[in-house]
């Protein structure tokens, strides 16, 4: 990663983070404001599809336009509305519309019988601390969910791990899945995970965020009893279908995901497709340098000539390229410099503690040759991964533990704001 990129590393804040920030800012403007949390997450899954959530959000459109309130669409589907009391009637009206929208849902039908409320109310002045705690726990839940999704995705992509009890993916099931995915809006299965620079004890500095589909959720939703990772080749074919879904999602202009430094997973053939060219049309010239394209190692080597062609094109357009899916065992075969690739992602494995590659050479030597600021250690689920990585010179990290450190950092910032008052 180039120094420019490092200094540019602005994270994309999640809605949960935005909400927390906003509540901090409200601390001195508590008076005359109310808030409500609409628990769409308690509705039946069939009632909280993307378009329904969007319809729900639309009911608050007037409020936002007249600057009387703020609306936050959380990743668990809930909506939080914070508004000036003068707009109370307007909010009530919107809520009536919303109840009407979902009135066939058991959640709303049972509401009067003492079950959890569909709408939770807060008077900002009086309930400020409650509100703050709620926002903080939402941030934590979101991070937790993201890391779980990422881990599930990793597991699904790694046929050697777990999941033996499910039935294997067959070509017939894959064909069905591909058809189902063709028209599906996968926006709510899109997840992000930060790739961070971590030097010494300093808090992680996000450089970019990997956007990926939660394979775990995809599996649960569409083929709950099937192990999508059982055949590496069928899985690879599935990723080509997913490529087109991710590109079409990112092509939608209302999507905020692409407003920062991100990486996306694509196949070489996708880079040469009309869909990618259309995506490329929508990306501003100065933004391409902030987009990293992650390619799987098998895909790179499956047709090296196609890879070289796609690489030259992508670099010419300003994208950066990262080779993904590298393990300690395949590391000796991958020479980042020779391949003309910007970044390499190595998956954490307990055997890395020994600092040796299968051919007897040392990991430290490899990292030196590959470039310490060009090697990302991913799937860092525990602190020792980062210690080991740092001990061999790696400075870039991704994974559950990194997300936890980031979350702790956010909590710390929250705490600081509180003391300030």
């Amino acid at each position: 990663m180039s120094p420019e990129a490092q200094s540019r590393g602005t994270p994309i804040p999640s809605t949960e983070n935005l909400l927390l920030d906003y509540i901090h800012k409200l601390e001195r403007h508590r008076h005359g404001r109310s808030a409500c949390r609409i628990r769409l997450s308690l509705l039946q899954p069939t009632n909280r599809r993307e378009h329904q959530i969007r319809a729900a959000l639309l009911t608050f459109d007037g409020l936002i336009r007249r600057l009387k309130g703020q609306v936050f669409a959380l990743s668990n589907s809930d909506i939080v509305v914070i508004f000036k009391d003068v707009a109370l009637d307007e909010v009530q009206a919107a809520l009536i519309k919303l109840r009407f929208l979902f009135d066939d849902d058991p959640m709303l039908m049972r509401e009067d019988e003492g079950h959890a409320a569909f709408v939770e109310w807060y008077v900002v002045d009086k309930d400020y601390q409650t509100l703050l705690r709620m926002a903080q726990s939402l941030v934590n839940e979101d991070i937790e969910r993201r890391t779980q999704d990422k881990n599930r995705a990793d597991e699904a992509a790694q046929p050697t791990q777990r999941q033996k009890a499910r039935e294997p993916l067959t070509p017939a099931l894959l064909a069905k899945l591909q058809t189902a995915l063709m028209g599906a809006d996968l926006a709510n299965m899109m997840r992000r995970q930060a790739v961070c620079a971590m030097v010494g004890q300093a808090p992680p500095q996000p450089l970019f965020y990997e956007l990926f589909f939660s394979i775990g959720e995809l599996q649960e939703t569409l083929l709950p009893n099937v192990d999508l990772g059982s055949s590496p080749w069928l899985f690879q074919e599935l990723t080509e279908t997913l490529d087109y879904r991710v590109l079409s999602l990112l092509n939608r202009h209302d999507d905020r995901s692409l407003s920062g430094d991100v990486s996306i997973n694509l196949n070489v053939q996708t880079l040469l497709s009309q869909d990618f060219l259309t995506f490329d049309d929508g990306v501003k010239t100065n933004q391409r340098g902030t987009i990293v394209i992650e390619l799987q190692k098998v895909d790179v080597f499956a047709d090296l000539n196609a890879f070289l062609f796609a690489r030259d094109f992508a670099r010419e357009r300003g994208y950066r390229i990262c080779i993904d899916g590298v393990t300690v065992d395949s590391l000796p075969f991958i020479e980042r410099g020779r391949l003309g690739i910007d970044l390499l992602k190595l998956a954490w494995d307990a055997s890395l503690v020994e600092g040796k590659l299968p051919d007897g050479s040392t990991l430290a030597d490899y990292v030196r040759k590959c470039g310490p600021s060009r090697t990302i250690l991913c799937r860092c689920d525990a602190g020792n991964a980062i210690q080991v990585g740092q001990s061999v010179g790696i400075t870039l990290f991704q994974g559950r533990h990194v997300e936890q450190l980031l979350a702790a950092e956010t909590r710390l910032r929250g705490g600081y704001a509180k003391r300030r008052s």
């Binding site: 050697t160 070509p171 590496p232 690879q236 080597f301 000539n305 030259d312 010419e316 000796p332």
Partner: protein, 448 residues
């Protein structure tokens, strides 16, 4: 702008060629300052002009073409023609240069056949060359029409998940024996002789396709084929169990996926061959990368059993872009292609060869004498391919008492199969299974 280069051109479809002719005729009145550029991408090697490549090439030119109020046309023969108005000469040159760079691997981009003609690109200054430009545009339209009529015949469908499912179903009940082929590899033994070092047994995908999926291209989707090959492994191992030869070759090689080594059928084959007959397992580098840990484990196991490991399907690019020597394999198979002789590839080929010990390198797919001569020139000693098969058959016929009744083509075809009518037609199966000692092919052997 329509950038799809492969629109099927029916009679009523407006093709890119039509649009190009329209545009050309329209600018006939105001030719001043306009340039027409013809990029002869149809002259690239087929592997370098895949649809995606052409799409990207068109994209690279788009900004310039729109900056100079022009139009771009992707023709059905893969050529690109664009017309621009008063372009900056530097800009034009720069874009063509970058495009040339993108296709630098292809000899077309630096081939000038000594007369200074640029075979990659022709630039027409329409102020002066308008008529010549109209001619090539009309010729392109005529060619596109002929091509559209010719290509009306059905093409094979690429393998997809649904068709693979059907293919796998048919495979479950199938005895693969009729589709198993064998091919011998030879090593130059010194003293002017060459001898067979092993026979490779494999399923002929072409024959299998004709038999069970005549409308599908089984090799048309890499990932789907990789999955299919796992099932083919099982069928091949079964067929090998039933294999009855009158005389076994010094060693047998089979192509397998790594997980298939754990298959009981493989272990049974290993046991059955015992110490007398060598066994080599050939695998693709892609398989090694897909699960390197499993690969190293499988390799260790093969070594313990004294069996050989072969990395198959290498080319100049794989040798140059990864250190295959780190697999520690016993043999590396480099696929011969006629392009390897091209002068501009020389440095790259020599670099590729330096990565592997020449004694462990085998030149595969040698379908001509040229291939063998090239290999000998580059210090290789091991060869395999159709030409080698023909040499072996010719030698067999020289010593076979039943040879008078056969042709060389028959003998070659009978060598290739392991059962069935072709083999039964041969009057001397022992001769068929006994690898002959052949004379080392000479560097410049006279044509037989």
């Amino acid at each position: 702008m329509n950038l799809s280069p492969r629109d099927p051109g029916g009679p009523e479809t407006v093709t890119q060629e039509h649009l190009l002719l329209d545009a050309t005729e329209r600018i006939g009145r105001v030719r001043d300052g306009r340039m027409g550029v013809h990029l002869h991408l149809s002259r690239l090697k087929p592997q370098n002009r895949q649809e995606g490549y052409l799409r990207v090439a068109g994209r690279m030119l788009e900004p310039m073409v729109s900056a100079y109020r022009g139009q771009i046309f992707l023709l059905s023969n893969s050529d690109i023609i664009f017309i621009v108005s008063q372009p900056s000469a530097l800009d034009l040159k720069d874009h063509i240069h970058r495009l040339r760079g993108l296709f630098a691997k292809d000899p077309l981009t630096n081939d000038d056949s000594g007369d200074g003609t640029d075979h990659f690109c022709t630039i027409y200054d329409l102020t002066f060359d308008y008529d010549a430009f109209v001619e090539i545009v009309k010729a392109a339209l005529a060619a596109a029409r002929t091509k559209a009529r010719a290509s009306a015949t059905a093409e094979l469908k690429p393998l997809d998940a649904a068709s693979l499912s059907g293919v796998l179903e048919k495979l479950t009940m199938l005895d693969a024996t009729p589709f198993v082929r064998r091919q011998s590899a030879i090593s130059l033994a010194g003293g002017g002789n060459a001898q067979v070092i092993f026979q490779e047994f494999f399923v002929s995908v072409g024959d299998l396709q004709r038999a069970i999926a005549p409308d599908v291209n089984l090799l048309g989707n890499r990932w789907m084929f990789q999955h299919l090959s796992r099932v083919l492994d099982q069928r091949l191992l079964e067929a090998m169990r039933r294999l009855r030869l009158t005389k076994a070759p010094p060693a047998m090689h089979i192509n397998l996926n790594i997980p298939s080594l754990a298959d009981p059928a493989f272990q049974a084959l290993d046991q059955a061959l015992g110490e007398a007959i060598g066994l080599g397992v050939e695998m693709q580098i892609l398989d090694v990368l897909a699960d390197s840990r499993a690969f190293f484990e499988a390799h260790r196991h093969l070594k313990e059993r004294g069996r050989h490991l072969v990395i198959d399907g290498l080319n100049e690019a794989t040798l140059n872009f990864m250190d295959v020597g780190r697999t520690g394999a016993d043999l590396y198979k480099l696929d011969w292609t006629p392009e390897m002789q091209e002068p501009h590839r020389r440095d790259s080929i020599l670099a590729a060869l330096r990565h592997v010990d020449p004694a462990k390198l085998l030149l595969a797919r040698c379908d001509s004498e040229t291939a063998i001569a090239w290999g000998i020139d580059h210090g290789l000693q091991k060869f395999q391919g159709r030409y080698v098969e023909a040499m072996l058959a010719a030698t067999t016929m020289g010593v076979c008492d039943k040879a008078a009744a056969c042709t060389l083509a028959q003998c070659t075809a009978r060598h290739a199969v392991i059962a069935g009518p072709l083999r039964q037609e041969c009057g001397n199966n022992l001769m068929l299974d006994t690898p002959p000692l052949i004379r080392t092919p000479k560097r410049k052997a006279p044509t037989p």
